[in-house]
């Protein structure tokens, strides 16, 4: 089974800076990690390869420094990594990103594509299903377990609001995965050595069969018009006194807001 896992290098969300001129995020200078859900995608790819043979290719679109994320993927034991890097990809929204990734995945060839549920920088969760549409394969989101795999189909559980849905999809297909799916492994010794020296295949726009109108800023229908720091604050009051006094004051307030009913308890 030939598997392609899509990973995104994301800034650690606790450290954020914004370029006030362009209203876009400054990605330089913030520590970068592999999007946590994408580690689950890599892990599942490796588990499936161990059971059914085949290969795991990890692919990422981004600036040159994404190479470090791809080397980390190599240290986990994947067969091959591909970096999609080109100025022409800059400013891509999810539609342009998915179009670009889909072109490269078509080039690589696949039976199964694995994506994270969402990337923690944007939290959009759109790139996976959009890739599936560009490639005209079925997709299933929020996968928490892979139950059965045959030559032609895959049976999985999806984690939804009120429970788990069991679904079968014909292959080739695309899955987006949640944390519950597996426990990502740590880097292996030999793989880590290899990761240091292995070449990282890099593809630009030219080698891929892409319409320039569909990629980068031009291929991105959405525009960020404003970024701002959320405002907090409401006119609140501190309740005074001992715990008992504060409790009494709160209950009185909730009573007048008609959230607590009935009269005060005798004490």
């Amino acid at each position: 089974m030939n598997i392609v896992a899509c990973i995104k290098q994301v800034p650690d969300t606790s450290e954020v800076k914004i370029d006030r001129e362009t209203n876009t995020l400054i990605r330089e200078g913030v520590p970068s990690i592999i999007n946590p859900f994408d580690l689950n995608a890599i892990e599942e790819g490796l588990l499936l390869k161990e059971r059914f043979g085949g290969s795991v290719t990890v692919i990422s679109m981004g600036p040159p420094q994404v190479e470090s994320a791809l080397r980390e993927a190599l240290s986990l034991g994947v067969d091959r990594v591909v970096l999609l890097c080109d100025r022409a990809f800059a400013g891509s929204d999810t539609l342009a990103t998915s179009c670009t990734l889909a072109a490269a995945i078509r080039e690589i060839g696949f039976d199964l594509i694995l994506c994270g549920k969402q990337a923690i920088d944007g939290d959009t969760a759109q790139v996976g299903p959009e890739i599936a549409e560009w490639l005209d394969v079925p997709h299933l989101t929020y996968i928490s377990a892979v139950e059965e795999v045959s030559d032609r189909s895959i049976t999985v559980s999806r984690l939804l609001e009120g429970g788990y849905e069991r679904v079968r999809a014909s292959l080739p297909a695309l899955l987006t995965v949640v944390k519950e799916l597996n426990e990502p492994r740590l880097p292996g010794y030999r793989a880590s050595l290899r990761a240091k020296t292995e070449p990282v295949t890099t593809w630009g726009a030219a080698g891929l069969n892409l319409d320039p109108a569909n990629i980068g800023m031009k291929g991105s229908p959405t525009k960020v018009t404003r970024s701002f720091v959320p405002e907090l604050g409401r006119q609140g009051q501190f309740l005074a006194g001992s715990p008992e006094e504060q409790a009494a004051a709160l209950i009185a307030a909730l009573r007048s807001a008609r959230i607590v009913h009935g009269s005060a308890k005798e004490s």
Partner: protein, 389 residues
């Protein structure tokens, strides 16, 4: 300028708006003279959106414009989901602002009186597709059915709830329609200048908010986070139109098959619909102290929530987590017990009507959003509250 004469009401607003005196009325319709410099003042002034600026170097203006605000009518157990009612309230406001109709596109099987019900909750038109193959949601046939309806009726805006269904279907559909999609919005409005949809959403774990537009492509698509807006109220006297849409084998093709559903509702508390939530954080100190939170919640007729720290300690399952990566809630009363108020937690509960914060540190950020602050030991305060209720 381009005139859609079928929409023009002959009101002459454009004549009065034109700074160049380039518009005159002839036979009840405006005519644009050579003095027109395409400034667009008439476009803004026209109450019936009958005038458009000709293609100004950007992508070609479509022959017939997109109009109408549509909501995807997600259903569960034969009912519209709660977020559909929230979207109807938001959609109604957008419809009034832009003078457009509010439509719901509803797919499923044997939906009975649901179309009428959606009209009572604010829809002007319900686009209905019924077929046994649509009884259970699947991405492919739903994408095809919606894409066909959109090609035929050309809505300008299309909104989904940011549920697992909405967030699976909307991106596939957006890619098929080659249009933009904004995920998990917390506010939707209309830009007074361009008339475009302003889609505001948190990014970077709630640290910043971004407002996004889709200026050229149509429809403008967004998913909206459940629980942020108040649901529409029912008015049985409202009237509207139900339009049945055709379906066929090519639209119903699917390469996935749903085998079953394992209900975990008991474990997955319904925080979104609770009117009282008592939440606990790391400040409770241990799992045992959570029983006080449960007891207070029970006395107030509410349910129990938790911060991520409390979930990570293993004191409560993930289903109880409130915040950026948990649930977004907007109860009438939210009591935060031993929760510091990190921005990611606030992102999930700021919309609550009354917020009570219990924390021993008077500088804890949670107090910035609190209606009532209680400084002291959380265990003592909880015991006092339970005793006095």
């Amino acid at each position: 300028m381009k005139l859609y004469s079928d929409r023009c009401a002959g009101c002459e607003a454009c004549v009065n708006a034109c700074p160049y005196n380039a518009v005159t009325m002839q036979g009840g319709l405006p005519v644009f003279s050579d003095a027109c410099n395409l400034c667009g003042a008439c476009v803004e002034a026209c109450p019936s959106e009958a005038i458009e600026r000709p293609g100004n170097g950007g992508p070609a203006v479509e022959a017939s414009p997109h109009r109408g605000i549509w909501i995807f009518g997600e259903t569960k157990d034969g009912q519209p989901t709660r977020v559909v009612l929230e979207l109807l309230a938001v959609g109604r406001r957008l419809a009034e602002k832009t003078g457009q109709d509010l439509g719901v596109v509803l797919a499923g099987d044997r939906l009975g009186t649901m179309p009428q019900n959606l009209i009572a909750f604010g829809a002007d038109r319900v686009f209905l597709v019924e077929h046994p193959d649509l009884a259970v949601f699947r991405d492919e046939p739903y994408t095809a059915v919606l894409a066909a309806a959109i090609k035929q009726y050309r809505p300008s805006i299309l909104l989904f709830g940011a549920t697992t269904t909405g967030r699976s279907l909307a991106p596939r559909l957006a890619a098929r329609l080659r249009t933009g999609l904004t995920a998990d919005c917390t506010a939707l409005d209309i830009d007074p200048e361009s008339g475009n949809l302003l889609q505001t959403r948190p990014a970077f774990g709630g640290n910043i908010m971004a407002t996004i537009m889709c200026p050229v492509n149509r429809p403008q698509m967004a998913t909206m986070r459940p629980g942020v807006q108040k649901p529409a109220t029912r008015d049985g006297g409202r009237t509207g139109e139900v339009i049945r849409l055709e379906t066929g084998p090519s639209l119903l093709l699917a390469r996935t098959e749903v085998l079953g559903f394992i209900n975990r509702n008991e474990e997955m508390v319904n925080l979104e619909e609770a009117s009282v939530i008592v939440s606990g954080g790391r400040g409770l100190g241990c799992a045992e102290n959570f029983s006080l939170v449960r007891e207070l919640a029970a006395l107030l007729g509410g349910v129990v929530g938790a911060s991520r720290a409390a979930v990570e300690e293993g004191w409560l399952p993930y289903a109880h987590q409130v915040g950026q990566t948990g649930k977004t809630v907007s109860p009438r009363l939210y009591i935060a017990c031993g929760i510091s108020g990190a921005v990611q937690h606030l992102a999930g509960m700021q919309g609550s009507d009354i917020i009570v914060a219990i924390n021993r540190n008077p500088d804890a950020p949670i107090f910035k959003v609190a209606s009532y602050g209680m400084v002291g030991d959380v265990v003592q305060i909880l015991k006092s509250l339970i005793e006095q209720l």
